[in-house]
Symmetry: C2
Subunit: 178 residues, 2 copies
Amino acid sequence: LGNPQGTRRQAGTLRGHTPGIRPPFEEELVNLDAQWVVGFVDAEGCFFVGVHPHPEMAAGYQVLPELTVVQHERDVQVLHALKAFFECGAVRRNHADRYALRIRKLECLRGVTEFFERHPLKTKKRVDFHKFRKVLRMMEEGKHLTREGVREIVSIASRMNTGNRESLQRIAKDLEVG
Amino acid sequence: LGNPQGTRRQAGTLRGHTPGIRPPFEEELVNLDAQWVVGFVDAEGCFFVGVHPHPEMAAGYQVLPELTVVQHERDVQVLHALKAFFECGAVRRNHADRYALRIRKLECLRGVTEFFERHPLKTKKRVDFHKFRKVLRMMEEGKHLTREGVREIVSIASRMNTGNRESLQRIAKDLEVG
């Protein structure tokens, strides 16, 4: 795990408070089962396509897809375990007592989508995942660098459960007018 | 699944909105993988010990342990799949657009704890689970029927993440005084 000392200290503290109760040990978290990862991401994962104004991009917008998993700080070691599982991403404090694993690099997200193609999600999050994958494919084809491509991506992102619809609708309007 | 017609209708609607995107089919949800269940409950499960005033109980309180999983209505079929997996529980509307699977029967909860002993949780929820299991064992020994037993259960429940501490502290005070 990324922060073995921190994790060990936390586990020790926990043991101190709850005698006889064994907290999850690091070694159990190092090798996550694929189906455990599917179940956890089905529940806590967020496939998100961010679209941000960016004057240096030809289309005026930058497309930033990411997979995020947020946890209370008591379970930060689970995020490190997921990071190790996907061999990708960064674990950082999100806000207050929450930490987030974010996977953003395109080659990493390709690995993530290949994993969830082999091990399908079981909740309706699968529908978001398929839209997310479509955006990634469009990016691999360079479509996010054109105004028309960004318009199509914005249209897909706004039909995702995780989409910020208001913001995306403003962008869609901007791209129509221009 | 409990509501095959409803599920089928929902799937059809979904397909209509997202051509080419395959929603999770019933048959994939019928046989959940044990590790998927662990991952999902690690994320969304709640081991809860309710303690309620009950004039007909010798201790004046009734102890009601339960495992709850709440989902948005779009994923109600996942709750039915979990119910089928544990062969226990009831799926009902919780509030607004949320549904809950609740497992309350003691013989059902025994099966649940046996499952999570064989397939340990990986998050700190494991600590709550161990306290939950301790309460179940005390109930099997009839300790929840005595004032002293309820006091001990209240003390355990108030150290759980899911505990309503204020309410439990009031009960603890009441049991001390009497």
